[in-house]
Structure formats: C-alpha cells, structure tokens
C-alpha cells in the first residue's frame, strides 16, 4: 500500500503551524487556504498547493480542516468546489476547528453517506500550543478511525483523547470553554471581593491555592488579574465565539446554562468597552466596572 497522503485546509494562526509539523515530519501534504500568501508559506516548506478544497480532497487520503467557525466548515465541506466533491470512499476528514457539536454530527452523517469517515478533533492550547505541538486534542468519532489518525495528532499535540462518537470532541471543547470562562468569572468575583474588603488579593490568592479553590485558572488568570497582564493569551472575542456555540447548542438541545449566559454578557461588556482583543482574564474588568473598584 502506498504511503498515506495528507491534506490541510485553513492555514491561519492555528492551521499554519499545525500543517508545518506534518510537513516537517516528512509527510506529503496538499494544502489550500483562501489566502494565497499562507499557501505560499507552506509550499516553501515543501507542501503542495491546491486550487481549492476539492483538489485537496481528490489528492489526500486524510484531509485536516482548521477554519474559524461552523459556517466556514460547512462551506469547506459542501460548497461546489468543497471537500465532499473531491472525496472517495475510504478517505477520512478530520475537522480540528471549534464549531457547533450539533451541526458537527450532521456533517458527519452527510459524509458517511459518501462512505467517508469524519473525526471532530477541536483543540485547546492556542497559538502557543499549536507552534509547540503541545495542543490538547479532544476527539469524536470511531475508535478505528481515531487509531488511523492518531500518529498525525501526535505531531500536533500531546494530550489526545477519544471522548466518544461524532460530536463528542466538539462537546468536550464546549464544556472546556464553559468551565474556563466560569472559573475566570469565579476568580474575578473572589479577588474583587477581597480587594474591596481591604485584603491583599495576591495574599488571598496564595492562601486559596492550597485548598478546594485551587485551579489552573486561579494560578494563571488570577495572577494576570493581579498583575493587570491582559495582553493575549486567548482573546475575549474568541471566548465570545465559544460561549455562543454553548448557548446556541443549549437552545437547540433544550438546556439552561445560567452562568454561561451571564458570563457571555460580561464578555460582551468587556468587548463593548474596547477589550475584545484582550486576554479572556479581562472578564474581571466587567465586574470591576460594576463595582467601581479594581482588583489592584
């Protein structure tokens, strides 16, 4: 059997370093991006440029996709010159974008009708994780397909988990973003309370790290709030997109997420005041605005 040929569609801040890792490991990689300059950067490293997504799917056995949002994935997959038009039976589509878990299942069903397996494999870890190949990858799909793609995931990330069937990867990613946002909010309320009550938030944070309030967010984002270190990191506007996935899916599924809803409103308030490109720990600024008082 010939060596597996790979494809990568979407060469933005995340996709570019991820695709680079595949090329540098010696794999044949066909690439496409709406931005020709991004394609050129990859071809200069040894990748093969394609005219559209369909061409990538015609040439590659496994097609990775990394684009911003649900409508972008739908377009890449099902447009006239999209992936689906170029696919043949036995090929695999791996969508690493962070998109709707509900629509992901529908996309997988449509591809299954063509005899094509899909994995949803959204990541966390951001640009830094993509460049360092240390992404956390949450995967939904069949075990056999996961086993086939796993060696390529291992070139892009470290903490790689098959969570369940199609959609389960996106579901885990949304669950992750809910917890991260709400824990940031929790740390923000607690440190602001401490400051307003006249205590030193830095010493309160220290005292709390040893107990049940411990979290990565209290460590990292708590420190950011105290140091006013709001350069991203993970941008407020990206977390707004992710909470929108959560709230849209909640409405579709029939589910109430009260704190996710108000956390989104607080992100909206930060963005309304010009903070959309700050790190998501800047959520505390919306609480500070409500209180007329800052953590430090």
């Amino acid at each position: 059997m010939a060596m597996t040929t790979l494809g990568f569609i979407g060469l933005g801040i995340m996709g570019k370093p991820m695709a680079s890792h595949l090329v540098h490991a010696g794999h044949t990689l066909h690439v496409y991006s709406r931005t020709p300059a991004d394609v050129e950067q990859l071809t200069s490293q040894g990748a093969l440029g394609c005219a559209d997504s369909r061409a990538v799917a015609e040439r590659a056995d496994i097609v990775f996709i990394m684009v911003p949002d649900t409508p972008d994935v739908e377009q890449v997959l099902f447009d006239t010159n999209g992936v689906a038009a170029g696919l043949g039976k036995g090929k695999v589509v791996v969508d690493m974008s962070s998109i709707s878990p509900v629509e992901t299942k529908q996309f997988a069903d449509r591809l299954a009708d063509q005899g094509v397996d899909m994995l949803d494999a959204p990541v966390s870890g951001g640009q830094v994780g993509a460049e360092a190949a240390t992404l956390t990858i949450m995967v939904g799909g069949k075990q056999t397909v996961f086993d086939k793609v796993r060696p390529y995931f291992a070139l892009m990330g470290k903490n790689i988990t098959l969570v369940g069937d199609n959609g389960a990867g996106q579901t885990a990613k949304v669950a992750n973003q809910i917890i991260v946002a709400l824990t940031i909010e929790a740390v923000g309320e607690a440190l602001l309370f401490a400051a307003k009550a006249g205590a030193d938030p830095a010493r309160v944070r220290e005292a709390l790290l040893g107990g049940f309030a411990q979290s990565r967010i209290l460590e990292v984002h708590g420190e950011r709030m105290i140091q006013r270190a709001f350069e991203p990191g993970f941008r407020v506007r990206l977390h707004q997109k992710d909470l929108n996935l959560a709230l849209t899916a909640a409405r579709q599924l029939g589910l109430s997420l009260p704190h996710t809803a108000t956390a989104q409103e607080l992100f909206n308030a930060v963005a309304a005041n010009g903070g959309g490109d700050l790190d998501h720990s800047a959520l505390v600024m919306a609480l500070e605005r409500l209180a007329g008082h800052t953590v430090t």
Copy 2:
C-alpha cells in the same frame, strides 16, 4: 513566665476535635459550650469545664472560639457573661468561626479598646480536616499575635497563612467559598451540557482534567456529580450560609457579585427540594431540574 493557658468556646462538630488536639498535646484547656454533654466529652479527655464564656476568658491567656455564625460570635464575646467581661490586657482572642468580615473588624476594634488582640482564623477542610488536624487556616491580624498563636494552629491544621490585618482571614474564607461554589456551578453546567449533547460526562471530565479547565472541584465534585455521591461532605445549607456572608458583605461594601447571587439561588432551589443536607456538589441538581435532564 508561666505556661500559656488556653480556652476553647464552642464544641460542636468542628470545635470538639479541634479542642481535643490541644488537650492531647498536653495543654491546659478551659472549655465552655452551650451543650453540657459536649463539655463533658472534653473534660473526660482532661479539659477543665467552665460555667460560661466569661469564666473561660478569666482563666485562659488565649481564647479560641468556634461557633456557627456572626450573631453567635457577638454573643460569645459581648454578652453579660461573655468573653469580653472576663478578659484582661495582653490576652488574645482567636475566632475560628466563619463569619462576616465586616463585623469581624468591628469586634477586633472593640477588643482592642480593652487592650486585647484578636485574630480571625476561619478554616476550610470540614469535619474530616478538623479530625485529621489538616485544616486550612486563613488568618487576619498582627504578625506578632499570629506568631504567638501559630504553634496552636499547627496542632489543628496544616496550610496556615497570615493573609493580612483583622478581617483578612474572614475575607479570604469568603473568597474561597465564592470560588468553590461558582466552580461547582461551572462543572455542573459543563457536565450537564456534555450529557445533554450525548457525550459521556465521565470521559469529558477525564479529557478536561489535563487542560485549563483543571481544578480540585472538577476532580472531586465532578466525580461526585457523575457517581451521584451526594452524601456530605460539605452541606448545601452551610454553603448557603457562607454565600449569605458574601452577598451581605457585598451590599455593605458596595460590590456586585452576579454569579455568587445566582449560585445562592441555585442552592436555595436545591434546599427547597429537600437537599439542604446534601453535599454542595448537589448544586448540579438545580441545573438538572431546569434542564429536565440529569448528568448520568
């Protein structure tokens, strides 16, 4: 100088094991509790029973207090037969109850007028931590007073931090309880979302523990939600009391705590349905009620 004589007022679920540790370390301990049977249990271990709080304060150099709430501390301190009536200059009062940070400062001021130093030293770790002498102790007051009392704290707990001046211990405890409640809520929304979207909450929890969503609460309380292990642990009604301290202080201080307020409402809903004595991870049951769906 004679050996330091100790006093302990309040011998409930928490106070009894804490006082026991002091007696078993060989210290002379004068005790008082409203419940004579609790006093007898301590005197059978070698403590000396007193008729009221005033008598404890007359005999002891350092008086520890462990009672349920702010009005109880006020009564123990300032009633006719209270601690203040028996204190002399140079004595120390150590309030280990979890009460209002705002009123704590007022109590400390009133005692300072008598030449008496006070520490606020609330704990976390619950009955298990009290019995195992592994409590986290968050202290507010002067460094010199903290240094004097520290050896006795070390008999009752492990993670002992002077957070700041009077009130800072209570402030840290409230901040702790805010974070714990809101992180429980966050984990509840995320796991319920995962379940409703058709994923396995246990595998989602596993996948998330490696990333930024990591917390002690996701580990311990997330597992409780999945296993339906709602026996306490830390009871809903005690967390309601603590969030009431947060919300009351927020109003007094001029501060908005939106998620703390709705978390309290969710605890209220759990209690309204007979869950006041369940573990606080049962907060998820209020979310489940809203969704008409359970995590498992």
